[in-house]
């Protein structure tokens, strides 16, 4: 067990180091200079060379861009461990970490329910559909359509239908801007009201994927030896399906770990369509404003989030699947 987790931790640490290095290197390898954009944005003028130098060296100092590369790299790490992701250019002088902190609740609020509910519902429905003609012929094509749909497109279609044409839901935002965030029933309702469409589009696309995955997996399980044995002993279909479902769930869970990165990507574009004030909208404005520090910070944040999510899934898997657990006991 310890070896298994030590291995996992090593992989994740190496991943993290690689990600940080890539994150640090990319903007330094690319053409362009964030300071110019910052100066252009804030409209700082300089009429003489001295004034120009004074201003830009001030900003180079702020962002630490004047030091040798290796010092910058070490500083980057040091700052990272202090939770310092740098200063945003678009929201100068706001720290990037603050921007992310503000956006996280919205993104998590979308992602976590969408992942859990779609995983739950998709697996249930996929299991129901397997080897049942009518259900299979309806659920399967629908699921294939859903899972092949680009997240942003489903979001656009939902927005167009329910927010623009029928006006059942608001078209954008995380809550009514007239409201002041508070722990009240009314505000919570308003949050839900704005949350529903982005959630629905995330949910639906993922739902399709899980339903298909489960449908295919469970057919394998239903055709497996232990299932046939149960049937030969006259065990009711219910029991056979129960066993098949449980076993089919295991690869689905490891699929979940693999899918997290993609789902996060889906959440980002969904937020963009709905102007939902989460990390996705933040990264879009960072890109539009060439806020490299924000882009870097958000990238790291996403990586860390995905790593943590993967680790949780790993632990879950070990708890659920006796095979890994026993295999590990044998190994240690």
């Amino acid at each position: 067990m310890r070896r298994y987790f030590a291995r996992k931790l090593l992989t994740y640490s190496l991943t993290f180091i690689a990600a940080v290095t890539v994150d640090w290197a990319i903007p330094r390898l690319m053409p362009g200079n964030p300071i110019d954009d910052l100066l252009a944005r804030i409209g700082t003028r300089c009429n003489t060379r001295e004034q120009c130098d004074a201003i830009s060296s001030y900003f180079y100092n702020v962002f630490g861009l004047h030091k040798p590369l290796w010092v910058q790299y070490l500083t980057f790490w040091k700052a990272l461990f202090q939770g310092n992701l740098g200063i945003s250019v678009m929201s100068f002088p706001e720290p990037v970490s603050t921007l992310i902190k503000n956006a996280i609740p919205y993104t998590l609020g979308l992602l976590v329910p969408a992942i859990l509910l779609s995983f739950w519902a998709g697996n249930k429905v996929g299991a129901l559909a397997a080897r049942r003609k009518i259900l299979d012929n309806t659920v399967l094509p629908l699921s294939y359509t859903l899972t092949a749909t680009p997240y942003q497109w489903l979001a656009m279609v939902l927005a167009w239908t329910f927010a623009v044409t029928w006006r059942f839901f608001p078209i954008s935002g995380g809550y009514d801007p007239l409201r002041t965030p508070s722990w009240s029933f009314g505000f919570a309702g308003d949050l839900l009201y704005h949350w529903f469409l982005p959630f629905a589009s995330l949910f639906l696309v993922q739902f399709g994927g899980w339903a298909i995955g489960m449908r295919n997996m469970i057919i394998y399980e239903l055709e497996s030896d232990y299932a046939h044995y149960l049937e030969a002993l006259g065990a009711p279909r219910k029991l056979v399906r129960k066993y098949a479902y449980r076993n089919a769930l295991l690869p689905q869970i490891s699929g979940l770990a693999l899918a997290i990165g993609a789902i996060v990507g889906g959440a980002l574009v969904t937020e963009i369509v709905f102007g939902y004030p989460g990390v996705g909208s933040l990264i879009l404005s960072a890109i539009n404003n060439k806020d490299y520090f924000a882009i870097q910070g958000i990238f790291l944040f996403i990586i860390v989030g995905v790593l943590i999510a993967n680790f949780i899934v790993d632990i879950m898997y070990v708890i659920i699947d006796p095979r890994t657990r026993i295999g590990m006991q044998g190994g240690s």
Partner: protein
């Protein structure tokens, strides 16, 4: 990473695809004596089931139709995708089959060009990802030991890093990626799951007798890999390529939608991006953003359905009677 990762379950469902390849021939009483007759029969059998598999036929038809649109579509367009006409935001008409954008460009022309880009990027991304996956997967599975350890670690690292985020950062700093560059980036980031699956398959194949024989006769490793191992997995490799192809289209559509894609070529994702940023939704210009989404869904969905069909063809246990 795209949902092709989830879809890898579809391929994992195809785990017994390898069982088929390994010779546990399906079909009840098809007793086939000599190996030679056997392969011929097998091929015939696959074809036999292939042309009778509704999913495969449906998926393949959709993909072929889309492919034809990509090939012939641009030739039929009366305008270039970047050409500004004087009819602004007009709905579909005989002059503009798919209507026009707010600045008077022909949506059909953009759509047809976008279809072409989709197949191009799917091919480039799919091929590159497949090649990397094969190199890494075969080597790790065949060599085992320390080579495997290192390659597996690298694979796991790439597997965990969300490719989408990396693409976002790279594309955000690179300005104006071209379709080939985008395809390259997508390909270089979407191989890990495929490599991992291939490694496992290779492991089980290497354990088999005939590979052992080849090994004993001291043949060159790559020769063994490409003479003995790869052909035995051809069905598996083909299905893997299909998933990587579809995945590349989906990832690139996402990147393009954010506005980080090619500037001088139309893609389906770019169309959605322009429709979104120019308020096509609010202005009710459905003809602008509906076609690209349907096209992506059709191509990718068609590929997925085709894949399930193939899985059933290659794997008798899944065939429904």
């Amino acid at each position: 990473m795209t949902r092709s990762d989830q879809k890898h379950d579809g391929l994992a469902t195809g785990a017994s695809t390898a069982a088929v390849a390994s010779g546990a021939a399906g079909g009840a009483a098809v007793d086939v004596p000599s190996p030679k007759v056997r392969t011929i029969n097998r091929r015939f059998e696959f074809l036999y089931f292939a042309i009778r598999n509704n999913k495969l036929i449906l998926g393949l038809s959709i993909v072929i139709i889309c492919f034809l649109i990509a090939i012939i579509g641009p030739l039929l367009a009366k305008y270039s995708p970047f050409q500004y006409t004087t009819s602004y935001w007009s709905p579909p008409s005989s002059r503009h089959w798919f209507g026009t954008t707010q600045d008077g460009r022909d949506v059909y022309a953009q759509f047809a060009a976008g279809m072409r880009s989709a197949f191009l990027i799917g091919t480039i991304g799919g091929v590159i990802a497949s090649v990397v996956a094969m190199l890494v997967g075969f080597t790790a599975g065949y060599r085992a030991g320390i080579v495997d350890e290192i390659l597996s670690m690298v694979t796991n690292i790439f597997l965990v890093i969300p490719a989408f985020a990396v693409l976002l950062v790279i594309a955000g700093f690179l300005h104006n990626v071209s379709i080939p560059v985008e395809g390259l980036l997508v390909g270089l980031l979407s191989w890990p799951w495929a490599a991992r699956a291939l490694r496992a398959q290779t492991f089980s194949l290497v354990a088999r007798d005939f590979i052992g024989m080849a090994r004993l006769s001291a043949q060159n490793s790559w020769r063994i890999i490409f003479r003995e191992i790869a052909p035995n997995m051809s069905s598996y490799l083909f299905m893997m390529f299909i998933l990587l192809f579809g995945g590349a289209i989906l990832i690139s559509a996402t990147i393009d939608f954010i506005g980080l894609g090619p500037q001088f070529t139309f893609t389906l994702g770019k169309m959605m991006n322009e429709a979104q940023t120019n308020s096509g939704l609010l202005l009710g210009m459905w003809w602008w953003f509906i076609p690209p989404g349907i096209a992506i869904t059709a191509i990718v969905g068609g590929l997925y359905i085709m894949n399930v069909g193939l899985d059933e063809v290659f794997n008798p246990r899944l065939r429904e009677m």
